[in-house]
């Protein structure tokens, strides 16, 4: 049978993963933000200048994203939600907000005024402005969430490629280790790892890697198993390419597409995980604002209708970010099916 042969324009996923400008913009956004969150305190009061290039980069990235996603309204909504928080994260120091850590007026309800200050979303039990905490609170979860997911992907993809492409003993060993890790419920794994390493952003990265990499490895392994039967891999083999070359140059670029969808979903999971772990006291530590922490702190002070805003604000904020990731994944998947 003749295969239907319609050379199409670049697919949405291709457009999305067309590397150069997106990667450059992403790094422009990401590196300053990460540096700010990780080292901001050490750098001192001028740390916020770090974020200056990140703001336009975020906006530009958003524009590129909207263009790439224009076929899917769902994806654009998701993208908008995610970029809203990204924009908040990179511009938080420049926004006219109160100090998120400074106690001003405890238990001020939303839309109330106290001491000449207006609190849109009220204040928490320590009297810190909720609006400000909510906006600042996205920084850590975004930075650690995305970093953790990226690291998990690097590790997972590496092992997945090795396992899928080299097969044999490599596959047996890697798959067994992955099975061991996958046999733990994620939360058990998180608890054990973070309990052992101690709670911190960096250790979350480690824990997420342990928890997510096996699943990613499986996906990549599956893709690699598929791709390695393609003729172009065969061609590379028959011209005597080193397996490493084949894995990196022939396989890796082609697993990128399906993985992007998965990555969006996984970003959502990681965000959930970080928030949940922080709520359980195993994740990010005070004092800097974080949604999980806000919930953790409010869960014991605000169990009353009157104060429920303290719980609702972070809960809705984190839900909106995850919704953003999920909608993006959904839209992307839909687009990739249509292409």
């Amino acid at each position: 049978m003749a295969v239907t042969e319609i050379p199409s324009g670049p697919s949405a996923l291709d457009r999305l993963s067309r590397p150069k400008p997106v990667i450059v913009l992403f790094l422009l956004m990401w590196v300053p933000l990460t540096a700010y969150v990780m080292f901001g305190q050490r750098i001192g009061p001028n740390a916020q200048t770090l974020l200056l290039p990140a703001i336009p980069a975020t906006l530009a990235l958003y524009v590129l994203g909207v263009r790439a996603f224009r076929e899917s309204r769902v994806a654009v909504i998701g993208l908008t939600l995610v970029f809203f928080w990204l924009l908040m994260a990179v511009s938080a120091p420049y926004l006219p907000l109160m100090d998120p850590n400074k106690p001003v007026a405890p238990f001020a309800t939303p839309f109330s005024e106290r001491g000449g200050l207006f609190f849109w979303l009220g204040t928490d039990f320590k009297g810190r402005d909720m609006l400000s905490r909510m906006i600042w609170g996205c920084q850590r979860v975004l930075v650690w969430g995305v970093t953790a997911t990226m690291v998990a992907y690097v590790v997972g993809a590496m092992f997945g490629l090795i396992s899928g492409y080299l097969a044999g003993w490599w596959d047996e060993i890697i798959s067994f280790v992955a099975n061991v890790l996958l046999s733990f419920p994620v939360m058990v794994l998180f608890i054990v790892i973070l309990n052992y390493l101690g709670p911190s952003g960096f250790n979350i990265v480690v824990a997420v890697t342990f928890a997510s990499a096996p699943a990613i490895m499986r996906i990549v392994r599956g893709l690699a198993l598929d791709i390695k039967t393609r003729d172009y891999v065969y061609a590379a083999q028959t011209r005597g390419e080193h397996p490493l070359y084949i894995m990196i140059f022939e396989l890796l670029p082609n697993v990128r597409g399906p993985i992007i969808v998965d990555a969006c979903l996984r970003l959502g999971y990681t965000t959930v995980a970080i928030t949940t772990l922080t709520f359980l006291g195993l994740g990010l530590q005070p004092p800097d604002p974080d949604w999980g922490l806000m919930i953790r702190e409010s869960a014991k002070t605000a169990m009353l209708w009157k104060f429920s805003y303290m719980l609702l604000v972070p809960a809705l904020a984190v839900s909106s970010l995850i919704l953003g990731f999920n909608l993006m994944a959904d839209g992307l998947r839909e687009m990739s099916l249509r292409d």
Partner: protein, 697 residues
């Protein structure tokens, strides 16, 4: 039969049918102005390349367009009633009982989680109100009619438990259960092996006779249509371009496209040197990029501005034959003999010394049951058994065989991806059999390259065309400086007749034929001594196939490359090969020069294979040989002669017990068979020209 046509109501009539798909790019017309009149008992073929809209027509007749397709104009009259006016319930009653359909992929069209019996009885139960018992009885009867052995067992089986050919018979039985007036066959044999295909075609022909069912037979294969149909419609890019009685069209085709189509398929008369194939230039337009006027205009040699590209072209009846219609403005002006481009005759190439010799090459796989902890039994898959042949410089050796014959394994061993279990493979004076590709040096590797089957897989979608060719050049040390490499890349693109700016393109921006050209360029980048071409054109449209085939051979000719051409299609092989190796279940059954293979003595398998290949030539007469059964699994080959289970000449006690001897018939023509050489020599040719009288019957 046309005598009665006037009085009879046509079973089906399509009038000015227009079908569109709605996508995010807007409305895309799939079929435009389609007309068809099918009389009772008639078999009508629809032929065309992929994307021409032939399957769409079939689904439109069933009124099953999916959620984004719609009939936007015209009428479909079934026994005089417009199906477009029917209610869902009326349609339901007609579907499956009055109109039935047979599909391309039998496995996919059967429900995997229901027994075949359950799926069959539904038809009489829902259409004829039969009880389960009666329905079952009828189903069993029908299975017997489609020549399925042991219908009872099959009724209780799940689809995956029977072979592809059997599945297709089941689907046909299902279609026939309610004795339909109209049977739609949408490429019913495409997914099957040639020898199995022959059996199905045979069955379809018998059914037409026995049941008197009208049929619409959809295929891309002109030979198949010739074997099954009375009339035919040739479609191109959503339009019927030529309609008529099958003999009229085959013998006096009037449309330039039909003519081009016939010019690009290797008919028995074709010869790669004397009468090379002529490809249709250009490629199929995309549905939303069709030109004004004649859709074929941009590819047509007879295109005339102002005539062919104005307005919508109507169908014209061929003078003297009202049934024969053509959608061409100039069909009466064209002098085919004068104006049709002909392939230039090329001098034959003298083969040189032996380049590749394979001696008793054997490849066995061990399959282990169980796994990490539980050791299971080991089974041996004999993928290749004692293959021996040689290939000389500038020679084309075809390796012919159906699925599971071990041709891919052989290629893998040759390329160094697998070790031979036994035997020798010599390239020049390098032993390759136990030299995996990692241990081969660049020179050896570059001497042996491959052109792959699937154009969509042959190029890495992530890298540009140029960089993929350049990698080979660097890897094989042909050049290393950037400018030099670039120069070579450009030269190679020139060689495969692609524009130089394609170097910067990504594979997805290329059509299948173009990709295959790049694949060829890549294979030849290292100046190989031997090129293995694994069905390089089978996935391409007919009109493109010719061009790629010709290109491949031109380059081979220039470089004096030895080519191992792997194929299942004997017509192609006959056209281009110098010598042929016929394989079956891992063994070479017969080998010899092309002339030897296509003339008696034949190996019984070669004979059947020859008979099974449909030939789109009315001047040819073919002997009718239909093999029974299916190709056995290579994991469990028959004892004795591998072909013994299906061989019409099978001698019980000999063939199924003992491995046959290799009989030599001189000139390298060797046959692996128990039959007496005299008996073999006495075989009649399978293909021979019809006598003039027979033709004009």
């Amino acid at each position: 039969m046309s005598d009665h046509a006037a009085e009879q109501v046509p079973v089906l009539e399509c009038r000015n049918l227009c079908i569109s798909y709605y996508t995010r790019a807007g409305e895309i017309p799939a079929v435009v102005d389609f007309n068809l009149k099918l009389m009772p008992g008639e078999a009508h073929g629809i032929v065309g390349e992929s994307g021409c809209g032939k399957s769409t027509v079939a689904l439109a007749i069933m009124q099953y367009m999916g959620k984004n397709g719609a009939i936007v104009g015209g009428e479909i009259l079934f026994e005089g009633r417009d199906m477009r006016q029917m209610s869902e319930e009326e349609l339901r009653q007609i579907r499956g009982s009055r109109i039935a359909m047979v599909y391309q992929e039998p496995m996919a069209s059967l429900n995997p989680s229901m027994t075949i019996g359950d799926q069959l009885v539904e038809v009489p139960i829902y259409h004829d109100g039969l009880s389960e018992q009666e329905a079952l009885a009828r189903a069993e009867e029908m299975l017997a009619k489609v020549r399925l052995p042991d219908p009872k067992r099959i009724l209780a089986s799940y689809p995956h438990q029977i072979s592809g050919g059997q599945q297709q018979r089941v689907v046909i039985a299902m279609a026939l259960l309610s004795n339909p007036r109209l049977l739609l066959l949408d490429e019913p044999t495409t997914a099957l092996d040639v020898t199995v295909e022959a059996g199905i075609v045979d069955l379809i022909n018998e059914i037409a006779e026995e049941f008197g069912t009208s049929m619409i037979y959809i295929s891309h294969n002109l030979g198949l249509i010739l074997e099954t149909c009375d009339r035919l419609t040739v479609m191109y890019s959503g339009e019927a371009v030529e309609v008529g009685d099958i003999h009229d069209v085959f013998e006096e085709m009037r449309h330039p496209y039909t003519r081009g189509l016939f010019g690009s398929i290797p008919l028995p008369g074709a010869d790669k040197n004397a009468h090379p194939l002529v490809a249709i230039p250009g490629q199929l337009p995309l549905p939303h990029e069709r030109p004004e006027g004649c859709n074929f205009g941009p590819r047509c040699t007879f295109f005339r501005d102002g005539l062919c590209n104005v307005g919508r072209l109507p169908m014209h009846a061929v003078p003297g034959d009202d049934d024969h219609k053509v959608r061409c403005e100039r069909f009466q002006e064209i002098d085919w003999d004068r104006d049709l481009p002909k392939g230039e005759a090329k001098p034959p190439v003298e083969a040189g010394g032996t380049v590749l010799s394979v001696e008793d090459m054997t490849k066995h796989y061990l399959i282990e049951d169980g796994g990490l902890f539980v050791r299971g039994g080991e089974r041996v898959v004999k993928a290749n058994e004692k293959l021996s042949f040689t290939a000389r410089e500038a020679e084309t050796v075809a390796i012919v065989g159906e699925s599971g014959c071990g041709k891919s394994t052989f290629a893998k061993v040759l390329m160094g991806l697998e070790d031979a279990t036994d035997g020798k493979v010599m390239l020049g004076n390098v032993e390759l059999g136990d030299l995996p590709v990692e241990r081969r040096n660049a020179e050896t590797i570059s001497k042996l390259q491959m052109v792959f089957q699937n154009p969509f897989d042959t190029l890495n979608p992530s890298h540009s065309v140029g960089s993929q060719i350049a990698r080979v050049i660097r890897k094989f040390g042909v050049a290393s400086k950037d400018e030099e490499v670039e120069e070579i890349v450009f030269r190679l693109l020139d060689t495969v007749k692609l524009p130089r700016d394609f170097a910067r393109r990504k594979p997805r921006q290329l059509s299948g034929g173009q990709k295959q050209r790049v694949g060829i360029a890549r294979a030849f980048a290292g100046n190989p001594k031997v090129v293995i071409a694994d069905e390089p054109v089978s996935a391409l449209d007919v009109s493109v196939q010719a061009a790629v085939t010709e290109l491949l051979m031109d380059i081979q000719r220039q470089n004096r490359t030895t080519m191992l051409f792997i194929s299942h299609d004997l017509s192609v092989v006959r056209y281009l090969a110098d010598r042929v190796v016929v394989m079956y279940l891992g063994r070479i059954m017969e080998q010899g020069t092309t002339e030897d293979i296509f003339a008696p003595p034949y190996h019984p398998y070669t004979e059947a294979l020859l008979a099974a290949v449909p030939i789109a030539d009315t001047r040819i007469e073919k002997r009718h040989i239909v093999l029974k059964g299916e190709i056995p699994s290579p994991t469990n080959p028959p004892k004795g002669c591998p072909f013994s289970t299906r061989c019409p000449y099978m001698m019980p006690g000999t063939c199924d017990v003992e491995l046959p001897p290799l009989r030599s018939f001189g000139g390298g023509h060797r046959i692996l068979c128990h039959l007496d050489p005299a008996e073999l020599t006495a075989m009649e040719p399978v293909i021979k020209p019809k006598t003039e009288a027979a033709e004009r019957l």
